[in-house]
């Protein structure tokens, strides 16, 4: 059994009886056990996944087969899963067992997927290196000294290391795309509103989107089909046509924004240029274009995301669930100690900056100004999509960096998000997919599409992956 097989391959293997869902689940469980040092998982639900696999085998025998029946996947630990710990990688929720399933979890279950566990992440999805988790950092399976990226680092590393067929992640300012790039997997941040946020623990409500991390654009599309769609429980979810990646791509104009390419290191430029030539060889045309407000995106992102987070996280007060300080003297102490003890330093930093940005006297200068620039950034993209069908950019200024290299330097860490935050602020879909290696570490590229343009992004990705093998590379198993 090939743990690096695509969902499509696993589907036919299960349906043809080459292996059972139970055997498949055992295969991944064994690999998770062997790769414990990567720290990809906060919870492994061995019992649950084996029960579900047995049911899946019966369903397959009875020909009641959904697109993901018997396929083991893992959820980022901010998706609420009924009966399982849903910690958000925070001490604050170290004891929180969700009484309900997130819409995404529910829909994937209905499509037949079985849940093998919950993946590690940056605390409350705040981080770009997976070093802020209460449960310790995740290691990059390509180089265990390096970070897997964040905040969906556990999901990206788990897919890369063959510990699950695919994973869910969430992306607020790059949290699917950057770890996908660092770990050499394919990750999609859908259009804001395509995937329900209900049951996905909020970081920044106007930016958060759930999405898949998978081995290929095709697999990502299969997962997205199960996840997407209007949800009456989420007022911001959209009614939109389902994503369709079955059709073949027409010749596209691929926009090359100068602002994203000009400061790139020579080694990454080389890889990205090669990817661009491959796309051109497939009949697409590269066109140069401008996205003038790109430089402001990261600052705008950190103001808005922090502001929203500062109030989204107010509910963690030690009163109803979650961490509660021992023996507080009074209400003030209960709040102060519960939150001081329950949140890590990066979460506190963002709550404080966000609180500042919303305060009387600073609101206009920070939050309101950020919203104004956000509209300009969005307009940049709307203009650009008059000239191009898809925009091609790097995902990150570097490949996976060493652990502890940036953790003490928040500004540099935040600058890691420079190529991913603009699409987030504009609510656009963006696909991150492997396009080469640099110093033996994976390099990713990003396709940004117009609102609800996932079909063409994924189709283009599938075409590229039909032509290249970068997505099929995987790190050597490191079982000592």
């Amino acid at each position: 059994m090939n743990p690096y097989a695509s969902v499509t391959q696993l589907r036919s293997g299960l349906d043809n009886g080459d292996f059972s869902a139970e055997e498949l689940a055992h295969c991944y469980l064994d690999r998770i056990d062997a790769a414990k040092d990567l720290n990809c998982f906060i919870t492994v639900d061995a019992e649950g996944v084996l029960d579900a696999a047995k049911r899946a085998d019966k369903a397959i025998a009875n020909k009641r087969i959904g697109p993901l029946t018997g396929i083991p996947i893992a959820h980022k630990d901010l998706f609420c899963t009924r009966g399982l710990l849903t910690s958000c990688a925070s001490r604050m929720l170290n004891n929180f067992v969700a009484p309900y399933d997130a819409t995404v979890v529910d829909r994937l279950k209905r499509a037949g997927a079985i849940t093998i566990g919950k993946t590690n992440m940056d605390e409350f999805a705040m981080g770009s290196s997976n070093e802020t988790s209460f449960y310790g950092p995740v290691k990059n399976p390509w180089d265990r000294e390096c970070v897997p990226g964040g905040s969906s680092g556990g999901s990206a590393a788990a897919v890369a290391a063959g510990l699950a067929a695919a994973c869910t992640g969430s992306d607020t300012g790059g949290s699917i795309r950057q770890p996908a790039s660092f770990c050499g997997v394919t990750g999609l941040k859908p259009t804001y509103g395509r995937v329900s946020r209900y049951g996905m623990i909020a970081f920044a409500s106007s930016l958060d989107q759930g999405g898949p991390l998978a081995r290929s654009a095709s697999d990502a599309g299969t997962l997205l089909n199960a996840m997407e769609g209007y949800d009456p429980n989420d007022s911001t979810s959209a009614i939109a046509d389902a994503t369709d990646i079955s059709s073949s791509s027409r010749a596209l104009k691929i926009g090359i924004p100068t602002q994203y390419w000009s400061d790139l290191s020579p080694s990454l430029t080389k890889v990205l240029e090669e990817a661009r030539r491959t796309l051109e060889s497939l009949g697409h045309q590269a066109v140069s274009l401008e996205l003038p407000h790109t430089n402001a995106a990261t600052a705008v992102y950190y103001v808005i995301a922090g502001a929203e987070a500062s109030t989204n996280l107010s509910r963690y007060d030690g009163i109803r669930y979650g961490h509660r300080a021992a023996a507080p003297e009074n209400l003030e102490d209960l709040y102060q100690f519960s939150r001081s003890e329950g949140f890590g330093s990066e979460v506190k930093r963002r709550i404080l900056t966000g609180t500042y940005a919303l305060s009387v006297g600073y609101y206009d200068a920070y939050y309101l100004k950020a919203q104004q620039i956000r509209r300009l950034i969005r307009q940049d993209f709307l203009d650009a999509f008059g000239e191009a069908d898809v925009i091609l950019t790097p995902v990150s200024p570097s490949t996976a960096f060493k652990r502890e290299a940036l953790i003490e330097d928040p500004i540099s860490m935040y600058q890691q998000d420079i190529y991913t935050t603009p699409a987030s602020l504009a609510g656009l879909p963006a696909l991150s997919l492997p396009c080469g290696v640099s110093d033996e570490m994976p390099v990713g590229m990003q396709f940004i599409g117009p609102h609800f343009g996932e079909s063409s992004l994924l189709t283009l990705g599938r075409e590229y992956q039909d032509e290249t093998d970068w997505h099929a590379l995987h790190p050597a198993d490191n079982h000592d």
Binding site: T86, F96, I201, A202, S235, T311, S314, I319, R320, Y321
Partner: protein, 478 residues
């Protein structure tokens, strides 16, 4: 001595009578077991999201139409951030600068029939908080989130009220309006309408405003009046003794009939309002407004005019009837059946109200159907029965039900107006009481009442009193 004038504005929180909460599907029923009406959204579990209840929007629009206000074509919700144990999310979803209902007016009426238009600045939708219970658990605080997320319409008046009595009249008028619109159950003792009052005083004739205080949570017409009377007197004493009124929040203690300082407002709270990113702006198309408009009942002001000018009721009667929309609805139904609106009003404000008070029930469950009361009044009018008999039929209907005409027939209560029968009774009584006959004939006219009483006694009250009078006068003539 300075002649002082009070400047009062009220903020009234009206609980809207939606079946479910404003942002969740949990029920809004009152008096349930603690936290049984609180679902995942209400207790703010991680990951949950608010979804706006359209019924609350419709009710707010209904109010806006009733006060002739502009309804926003688009409005939005904001987060008001503060920590409190009965505020589960750590913020309240409210509307800061884009309220659903803009400026409107509400007339308040005075006993002499005069009225004044009071400006309403705005009305906005928001969610209620839960309740902290400090008394039941020794040294601990209980949290009941049943109320959390109940829709509120906060109605803010202009500072145009000039006395405690006017403020109480405004509160009462608002109560009559929202209950007539059926957007609030109006149960003041369950907290369905809660009032905060901003109050300052200034010498009469002066335009500038004095420093104000805010009195929180006065929840009855009487307490609004008493709290403001106390506060006006207190502010006068402070200023006349050379002191200064301090901007602060005060609490009214109804047992001691005084207001007490609760907290200073000097360092104003920073609620860090910002648009709630979980909710889209609410678009209110004209079609929605029109679909609400067609459901509008007759409003209290129109009803008052109709009662006075079409039905000939007095200001007092009209005012009493529209105070309680259930009462005026009952009146309308009775008056539709009965030929005499004035008589209907007398009976409803008299006998019916007395019986309701006696039995401690209200107009929702009057045991006599309006058409039966209407018939009863018609039978007085057409002289089928006497007024006295009507009262006893009323009691029968109240306790046992049945139909008016059925009772009249089965119990033989029809008025005796056959002259021959009555003459027989009268001549019998004249022969039974010779002494009294003598007195009458000597000029003691007052004794006629004695004979009427005897005739009524002999006929079980069924004799037509007018006819009895005539026959007696004729027969007693010397």
């Amino acid at each position: 001595m300075t002649d002082w004038e009070a400047v009062i504005g009220l903020e009234v929180h009206v609980q809207l009578a939606t079946r479910s909460k404003i942002f969740s599907r949990a029920a809004t029923t009152f008096g349930e077991y603690p936290n049984s009406n609180a679902n995942a959204v209400d207790i703010a579990l991680p990951g949950v999201l608010p979804v706006l209840n359209e019924e609350a929007v419709r009710m707010a629009i209904k109010f806006g139409l009733a006060i002739d206000a502009d309804i926003a074509s688009s409005c939005r919700f904001d987060r008001k951030n503060y920590f409190y144990p009965d505020l589960p999310k750590g913020y309240q979803i409210s509307q800061l600068d884009q309220p659903i209902v803009g400026r409107g007016t509400l007339p308040i009426f005075f006993g002499d029939g005069s009225f004044r238009e009071i400006g309403i600045t705005r009305a906005h939708l928001e969610e209620d908080a839960g309740k902290s219970i400090h008394t039941t658990y020794d040294g601990l605080t209980g949290i009941d989130l049943n109320r959390a997320g109940t829709p509120l319409l906060e109605i803010v008046s202009e500072p145009e009220l000039r006395s405690a009595a006017e403020a109480a009249a405004y509160f009462r008028e608002l109560h009559g309006l929202v209950t007539t619109l059926e957007i609030c159950d109006g149960n003041l003792n369950e907290g369905s309408m809660r009032c905060d009052a901003n109050i300052s005083i200034r010498p009469k004739g002066v335009e500038t405003l004095g420093e104000r205080t805010e009195i929180k949570n006065v929840n009855s017409f009487r307490f609004v009046e008493k709290a403001l009377e106390y506060e006006i007197d207190r502010q006068i004493v402070v200023l006349e003794s050379g002191g200064k009124v301090v901007l602060e929040t005060r609490l009214y203690d109804s047992e001691r009939d005084e207001t007490r300082s609760m907290r200073s407002k000097e360092s104003s709270d920073d609620y860090r309002y910002f648009p709630d990113p979980d909710l889209l702006p609410v678009e209110i198309p004209d079609e929605l407004i029109e679909s609400v408009r067609v459901t509008m009942p007759e409003l209290p002001t129109a009803k008052r005019n109709r009662y006075i000018h079409e039905l000939g009721l007095t200001d007092y009667e009209a005012g009493r009837l529209i105070e309680d929309p259930h009462g005026s609805r009952y009146f309308d139904a009775v008056a539709e059946q009965s030929a005499d609106a004035k008589l209907s009003a007398n009976w409803i404000l008299g006998d019916v109200t007395a019986a309701l008070n006696r039995d401690e029930i209200n107009f929702v469950n009057v045991p006599i159907a309006p058409d039966q009361l209407g018939t009863l009044l018609n039978r007085i009018q057409d002289e089928t029965i006497t007024g006295k008999i009507a009262k006893s039929i009323f009691e029968l209907l109240w306790t046992n039900g049945g139909s008016v005409d059925g009772i009249i027939e089965s119990q033989g209560l029809r008025q005796l107006d056959d002259a021959k029968d009555l003459e027989g009774v009268v001549s019998q009584i004249i022969s039974d009481f010779p002494d009294q006959v003598g007195q009458f004939r000597e000029g003691k006219q007052k004794i006629l009442g004695f004979f009427v009483g005897q005739v009524m006694k002999a006929t079980n009250g069924k004799a037509n009193p007018k006819q009895v009078n005539e026959i007696l006068r004729r027969e007693l003539r010397p």
